[in-house]
């Protein structure tokens, strides 16, 4: 028998899924799903707006339920499974969002940034560490930087006190070889465990997740039925099955994980992710998965092809959080003017 370390499985259904539900997840849905997640034995349950703490906004969509209430409701359902949140400096502040989340009983703070900007997380990670809680660093849109840059940024996160580093495939753009190279490098050179968060825009979320595990990742993200932005995430029920089949030890109970997927299917019926022309082009263009819905809306309003909007957004190398640029691009396309790069 191998003495492989246990794999930490992070359930982001109630956070990434927020993108798929226009951030209108209700307290009832939180309670129902969190109960199922606890039973399934996932290591962490991540709850909140798709863009993390304090992201309820006109920019990326307003949440139906205030995040404090969502967090408290989830916390009540959890015993062994721990509660985590996603935090992006630039959206969230320490004084408001992190302090309140600590009060609500959050166990793990996953502090994220665009994959080349780790130094904006220094204070937030430091604050959580001084408050005695666990915190990881998250590098978003990580397909946009070469592995050496990712390692450099990950080392910064580690030096700030991050106790884990997760590479996100926010655009669903990775192929397995790239996962192997990037996760492999980080896993071999960092002290802290490394994780991968897949999206399914190109149908590769499970393959990529497996490649990550084989390259040394000890943290893996997924959502029930892939309920998440764009074409969704790596489906947790499939991950649980794959982990079991390949002999990776983890705390997840396979049948309960399958049950949790059924709960999610019922709760979020009609909003489960699917692969569409938009999500495919989004993945190819390397655009943040969460842009799919606002792109669709803006394109419809301005009478342009959403796929053209995505291609242009990709060409401009737009990062997560820049949803306002969608309108500018759609408006330019509608005007039929020559698309120029952002600076003349």
């Amino acid at each position: 028998m191998t003495d492989q370390p246990s794999i930490t499985v992070c359930d982001a259904t109630l956070r990434d899924g927020s993108h798929a539900y226009s951030h209108q997840i209700t307290l009832e849905q939180v309670t129902a799903y969190a109960t199922a997640a606890e039973a399934a034995g996932f290591s962490f349950l991540e709850v909140g707006h798709g863009n993390g703490l304090g992201a309820s906004s006109l920019q990326v969509g307003e949440s139906l339920v205030p995040e404090g209430e969502m967090l408290s409701a989830a916390k009540k359902c959890l015993r062994r499974t721990k509660l985590s949140v996603h935090v992006i400096p630039g959206f969230a502040t320490i004084k408001r969002e992190i302090v309140n989340a600590l009060e609500a009983g959050v166990d793990l703070f996953r502090v994220g940034c665009h994959c080349t900007e780790a130094d904006i997380t220094q204070r937030h990670i430091g604050y959580v560490r001084s408050a005695g809680h666990e915190t990881w660093g998250v590098l978003m849109m990580s397909h946009m930087a070469p592995k050496e840059v990712l390692l450099e940024e990950a080392k910064k996160l580690q030096s700030y006190g991050a106790q884990g580093v997760v590479l996100m495939d926010s655009a669903g753009a990775y192929f397995p070889q790239e996962v192997t190279a990037k996760i492999g490098l980080l896993a071999s050179r960092l002290d802290v465990p490394v994780g991968f968060h897949a999206h399914d825009n190109l149908g590769l979320s499970i393959a990529n997740s497996l490649a990550a595990l084989e390259a040394g990742a000890r943290i893996i993200d997924g959502t029930a039925k892939g309920f998440g932005a764009g074409a969704g995430n790596a489906p947790l029920e499939l991950l649980a099955a794959v982990l079991r089949q390949r002999g990776y030890p983890c705390s997840v109970d396979l049948y309960r994980a399958l049950d949790a997927a059924e709960v999610a299917a019922r709760l979020f019926a009609g909003s489960l992710p699917e692969s569409t022309g938009i999500t495919i082009v989004s993945g190819l263009a390397g655009v943040f998965s969460g842009f799919s819905k606002p792109v669709q809306r803006a394109a419809a309003q301005l009478g342009v092809d959403p796929r053209d909007v995505l291609v242009e957004l990709g060409r401009r190398k737009v990062v997560g959080g820049q949803e306002d640029i969608i309108l500018e691009v759609a408006a330019e396309l509608a005007r039929g003017s020559n698309l120029s790069a952002p600076n003349p």
């Binding site: 080349t116 130094d119 050496e148 840059v149 450099e152 910064k156």
Partner: protein, 351 residues
Amino acid sequence: MNRAITLVRADAEAVLEGRNGQLEALRGQHLFISGGTGFLGAWLLELAAVLNERHGFGLTVTVFSRNARAFAQRWPHLGGLEWITFQDGDIRYLSELPRETRYIIHAAALTDRRLFASQPSAVAETNGLGTLRLLRAANLLEDLKNVVLMSSCLVYGQQPWETAQINESFAGPLRSNDVNAVYAESKRFAEMIAQCAISESKLPVVTVRPFAFVGPYQSLELPWAVTDFIRDSLAGGPIRIMGDGATVRSIMYGSDFAFGVLSALAVGKPRETYNLGSPEAIDLGSLARMITQFFSPVPEIRTRVGQVGHDRNRLVPAIDRAAADLGLKVTVPLPEALQRTIAWNRFIQNK
């Protein structure tokens, strides 16, 4: 003088023959060369002249050094070119770069061994802080494409005798409490400063570690073996080798050197480090014999002129990485390199 100019021009054209496509990224661009008035600087300008005159590259260049204008006067065929701006200045006090600069070669450094001995602090300051000043100024540019940092093979410390060729991942021991290591340490510090700029501001910097070279424009007063041997031969000999002649070097011609640097600028991968030099090893005894065959009568070679037990050491690069990424290769074999260097020096001496 004319024959000297013609010789170098022919070399510059030859090294670029069929290979200027590699440098396409530089077409129409403004190059800022710090310290561009030494051996490398002169060759870079010669190649730039060919790129402009033969291949219509439309390059403009700013040469920044402490004796830029003096250089322009010394070599009027370069100094008179209207697309070169010669700017006098000290790299330690550089505050701004020309706005349109997109490409930078940072070669400004104190490299005179006599200064290492008598003004080591100035060496540390110029080579280290000079790099810091340059990169800070580079951070204010609109659209910086690439910076080449001219480091030194001496950052490796001592190459182990058993290692035939040293590659870029080698790191020798530090001798930070020995003033004799000031040059090597200052170059290591410069490399570190570049890494800081890369990490903080994502500046595109390519680090180049040059080995040993020979060619026109190289002062024969420099205390390198090859220049010593040539100078002594021109003076009628004898060539004096301190040890038994077993020390191993490799020597690249100036045109291949300059092409390698321009290539690093045009297609070098930012964050990467490249050895730059010839991979063909030669021991000093053989080098001396090779040089003397260009003289008649053949000058005498004396060995073991120094203290008994004089170190034998090796300094030879593996250039696989530069060959792959930059197309670096030796196009001028060593005997020809030596012959042309000697010819050029004779032309210059005869005026």
